[in-house]
């Protein structure tokens, strides 16, 4: 069947088998390999993208189910050559080591901040609890999200 998914603002159309998972569509068709394919069982969160704005695990959504919908991946965080504050925060606070969980962590964090611009550490921990970091870097991920929240508050105040 033919599906058309808008990924980071660009329409992508391809013939797929209905059984194809969204994570593979994203990685194979536009070649956006920032979204990682990890556990395959909706546990690890490396494949988290946003589907119509909501954070979802793309290994547990069929590409067919996303037909006609909008997907944002980690590649879509950067705007006009400028990193998203969440990405800057991960850089500033050393929130990644091997980097495998990072795209999912960033997408879950971005979704959190869009809904709750000033989260507590507890709220950040809950928001990223669908991701697993095996470099045991949660402490710095929480610090990175806090950094991003504060940066965004500053920018808002300046404007």
């Amino acid at each position: 069947m033919q599906v058309t998914i808008t990924i980071n603002g660009e329409e992508v159309t391809r013939d797929v088998e209905p059984r194809m998972l969204l994570v593979h569509f994203i990685r194979e068709t536009p070649g956006l390999t920032g979204t990682h394919w990890g556990c395959d069982t909706s546990n690890c969160g490396a494949c988290i993208v946003r589907l119509d704005g909501q954070a979802v695990k793309s290994c547990t959504v069929l590409a067919a189910m996303a037909d006609g919908h909008e997907v944002t991946t980690v590649e879509g965080l950067e705007r006009d050559g400028r990193l998203d504050p969440v990405q800057e925060g991960f850089h500033e606070k050393h929130a990644l080591h091997c980097g495998f969980c990072t795209p999912g962590m960033m997408m879950a964090s971005r979704a959190l901040l869009d809904e709750n611009p000033d989260p507590t550490d507890e709220e950040i921990r809950t928001a990223i609890s669908g991701g697993i970091c095996r470099c045991t870097g949660y402490q710095n991920i929480v610090a990175a999200v806090r950094w991003a929240a504060e940066r965004e508050a500053e920018v808002k105040q300046e404007a």
Binding site: M1, E17, P18, R19, L21, D40, T41, S42, N43, G45, I48, Q54, A55, V56, K57, T60, V61, L62, A64, M65, D67, A108, T126, A127, S129, G130, G131
Partner: protein, 291 residues
């Protein structure tokens, strides 16, 4: 790489359309809602439907509303909506208790109450929640609509009263005075299925229990409705000794299996403790004593 077996796919745009699609494709067709039970099972080839009917567009089944003395919950209501509902928080606080510990927020964005109930995994929390609060469910099929109790709904492990060609459309919960409820769960790690969980609902009137519902998840081959607890508590004034006795009954009546989450005697002990805690908290909420 885990990949589902080949299958067909179509998107339903109405409940009637979904029923027509199921009728056209016969018993090897399956509805797919949030997909967070079905897709993992398809990847493991534990489920091999030949045709999927996607019901994610059925906004007509996504609602939580009050209709007189009944709360109606549409089957496509996502976990996140159940967790945040002010109406449910007011009348049945156990939904928010349970939802805070069902999987993780990203999964909760997608999974639905209808999907959870129809999956009928004995370790799943919402089946115990709905049994404790004595909900009814509405099932629609080619012959029309029927309403069944949670007791009739749970047929066996992963088997419900929803037959081939039918769809669960709604969960109905009666609002009765003096209600309080709570869900208590112990899991190995954040987002995991329960080692054991207990859902309690009490209705207090004139200083005694008018009615009590107590159901367990991950404590047997199906959701365990511990009817003996209700029998013990009805007509009695709330008290710690009663909760103790109820915990002992639940520990006796549950049917846990030894697995990677623990041996039978540990699970029975846990069920007793969780039953006591859930009843205590539900009662405190009913009496509005909770801080």
């Amino acid at each position: 790489m885990q990949t589902p077996a080949p299958c067909g796919y179509e998107r339903a745009t109405s409940v009637d359309g979904a029923l027509a699609a199921l009728a056209a494709h016969g018993p090897t067709a399956r509805l797919i809602a949030g997909g967070h039970s079905l897709l993992p099972m398809m990847k493991l080839r534990l489920a091999t439907p030949e045709h999927l009917v996607d019901i994610n567009d059925l906004d007509e089944l996504a609602y939580i509303e009050r209709d007189g003395d009944v709360i109606r919950i549409g089957a496509m209501t996502r976990h996140v909506e159940l967790q945040r509902s002010a109406l449910l928080a007011e009348h049945f606080a156990l939904f928010a208790d349970a939802e805070a510990v069902i999987a993780d927020p990203v999964v909760r964005n997608r999974g639905t109450i209808g999907g959870s109930l129809c999956q009928a995994d004995p370790g799943e929390d919402l089946s115990a929640v709905c049994a404790a609060i004595k909900a009814d469910v509405v099932i629609r099929g080619p012959a029309g609509e029927r309403v069944v109790s949670m007791d009739e709904f749970h047929v066996g492990p992963y088997v419900t009263a929803v037959a081939d060609g039918e769809i669960l459309t709604e969960i109905r919960v009666p609002i009765r005075p003096g209600a309080g409820s709570a869900h208590e769960k112990v899991e190995r790690r954040a987002g995991d299925f329960a080692i054991a969980a207990a859902s309690a609902a009490v209705w207090v009137g004139g200083g005694t229990f008018a009615d009590v519902g107590l159901a367990l998840a991950a404590a047997g081959p199906i959701t365990v409705d511990v009817t003996r607890v209700g029998e013990l508590l009805r007509g009695q004034p709330p008290g710690e000794e009663l909760f103790e006795a109820a915990g002992a009954i639940a520990a006796e009546d549950c049917m846990p299996m030894a697995d990677t989450r623990g041996p039978v005697d540990y699970k029975r002990h846990l069920v007793g403790v969780l039953t006591k805690r859930a009843l205590r908290r539900a009662t405190a909420r009913a009496l509005q004593q909770e801080a």
